[in-house]
Symmetry: C2
């Protein structure tokens, strides 16, 4: 018998509406404040949190805004204390977490068992969260945050059981971005199915979502595959990983420089860099009837919509949905079987 059932709380909702404190009627992601009470409802699951993985855009903003690791740590604690979730109010993004299943409500449809190591595949912006260790083991210098506390999964949540054959930090880093390779593969396959092998450029090709998207594009039938990186060090890393036919250095915020570096406009452009202002360049790099997939949380909706209109560009622009069925298994498989992806991820978590 759970605490929730024992005290007769209101009926729960599969999407978590019962956890919304304010404003009334919105979904948990849109809420200002969630109820993060560790006591579960009958269809919920409680996770004992061990590590948060902050979204790249969120961590970048926090790091640039706060003078040192201590101030940054205090800011994260304050967000979680006041909002009941790690929802960065500036970037409107979160991240995900890993932990161990502590309690499974009798009506939970997620199929989890107590003691399993899991990673959440829904954003921290909608995950009720408490922190009980004051983040004392986090220096504030990495997006990976060692943490003790509790998190709640709703009935309609996405979660992955962590595999035993992969380092937890590696798996977590891959699962954090697993929507990107899965959706890239789907888009590339649509072009490949209907004609010649499509050309693909991934902006931010050396990052987590970028390197996985490059590998996914190739597997899905891409022809020419280009990775764009901001500087020489990443160019060398990505070239060594062998994930792209060409690696080019360009500032993605400079549309002309980007187009010049890429050469011929491509069928599919995948935007994986976490800096604002890349919409115009991505659109200009894409040919007529091509597709741009935006995964960066720094993407501006009006800049993309008006940018394409302003360039009279007949391109399909997708909002990178972080959920694609099978995405977790697909990303973990890339990590296991693609040596280039594996090398880049191992280097990244060792930093």
């Amino acid at each position: 018998l759970t605490y929730a059932a024992a005290v007769g709380r209101a009926t729960s909702s599969p999407v978590g509406l019962h956890r919304v404190v304010s404003p009334a009627g919105v979904l948990p992601q849109a809420a200002a404040v969630l109820d993060a009470d560790p006591a579960i409802y009958g269809d919920e699951v409680r996770i004992g949190v061990r590590r948060l993985n902050l979204d790249a855009a969120s961590f970048r903003q926090l790091r640039e805004h706060y003078a040192d690791g201590g101030a940054l740590r205090d800011a994260v604690l304050e967000i979680v204390r006041t909002r009941g979730k790690m929802h960065n109010p500036v970037t409107n993004s979160g991240g995900m977490l890993v932990g161990t299943v502590e309690e499974v409500g009798p009506q939970s449809p997620l199929g989890l068992e107590v003691g399993q190591r899991v990673a959440t595949l829904v954003s921290l912006t909608l995950t009720p969260l408490t922190i009980t260790d004051a983040l004392r083991d986090w220096a504030g210098t990495s997006e990976q945050v060692p943490c003790a506390g509790t998190a709640i999964l709703f009935a309609r949540s996405a979660v992955a059981v962590l595999p035993d054959d992969l380092d937890e930090r590696l798996a977590l880093a891959a699962l954090d971005v697993c929507g990107a390779p899965a959706l890239t593969a789907r888009v590339v396959a649509q072009y490949a199915d209907s004609g010649a092998a499509p050309s693909v450029v991934v902006i931010g090709g050396c990052g987590k979502s970028g390197s996985m998207s490059l590998a996914a594009a190739r597997r899905a039938g891409a022809g020419r595959v280009v990775g764009v990186v901001p500087h020489d060090a990443e160019a060398r890393l990505l070239a060594a990983a062998g994930l792209a036919d060409e690696v080019v250095i360009a500032d993605a915020r400079d549309p002309l420089a980007l187009s010049a570096a890429i050469g011929d406009a491509v069928d599919v452009t995948v935007v994986c860099v976490d800096v604002p202002g890349c919409e115009g360049g991505a659109i200009l790099a894409t040919r007529d009837k091509g597709t741009v997939v935006f995964f960066s949380m720094a993407t501006s909706f009006p800049a993309a919509a008006l940018g394409a209109e302003g360039l009279a560009a007949d391109v399909t622009m997708l909002i990178g949905n972080g959920y694609v069925p099978g995405h977790a298994a697909y990303a973990l498989d890339l990590l296991r079987t693609d040596a280039g992806v594996r090398t880049l991820f191992e280097g990244r978590v060792a930093e």
Copy 2:
């Protein structure tokens, strides 16, 4: 011989880079300030402006922020004076304009002739603009702004010659949103081509883009077509226009109420309301493998991306590109041939 050629200005760019004052290297839409000098380059066209049509999100924000029409007018003048374009810095949106072709550069590929009445189909956020009449004929109470001044078209611009058989304000209102029906038709046709007639819901079905999108959905082969409106007055208007099989009243910012009003989840959801916070409801209203097309400039990219992920919703989410080949002719044809659309538009411009 143009002034520009006479004084030997720098080479022009088809996308208008030569008009960007700051910051350097960005496209005109992303620029803080444009050079709105009425003297044209060899591949440009100068329009004598007669009317601006402010984007709905922009006008709404301005109207809510400024106490009266005079203050609102001053704000628009100040934006245009300092930025060289009518680019609302809060909403990041603009609108479009009508006027008369004043001068055509010898290298302009747009095929225009001096004296033609035209409407721009690229956003005001990237159109160099001067205002010479202090907007004295505008009371600040309507998004349609009588105006004297000049605007510049680049080589790669989208522009429509206004038809002689339609009232200018009617045509302008239709052209302002012409990307929405064209893209809706394309998406609906893709579903219709691959199986049963898709069900379609248009949120904000009584507005300009919404009513045209409803009509376009039907023409493109939709099955059940539902229009969502915020209150009774619009419900009566839309029902009388006969554009939807069902008209329902719901607050689009309330996901549960919206879903309850719509009933079964649909194949295609089109978001045309100019208020923030409609992402979650639109996603929840859409079935697995369905598509959400966001046309509202109030759409938040992170809210859509994280909202779908948080709901484990396998939906395709499109950023409503305002440019689709043939969009102007398609919208004007809807206005001419669909009595329901025509009636709603006539009522709107008469307000």
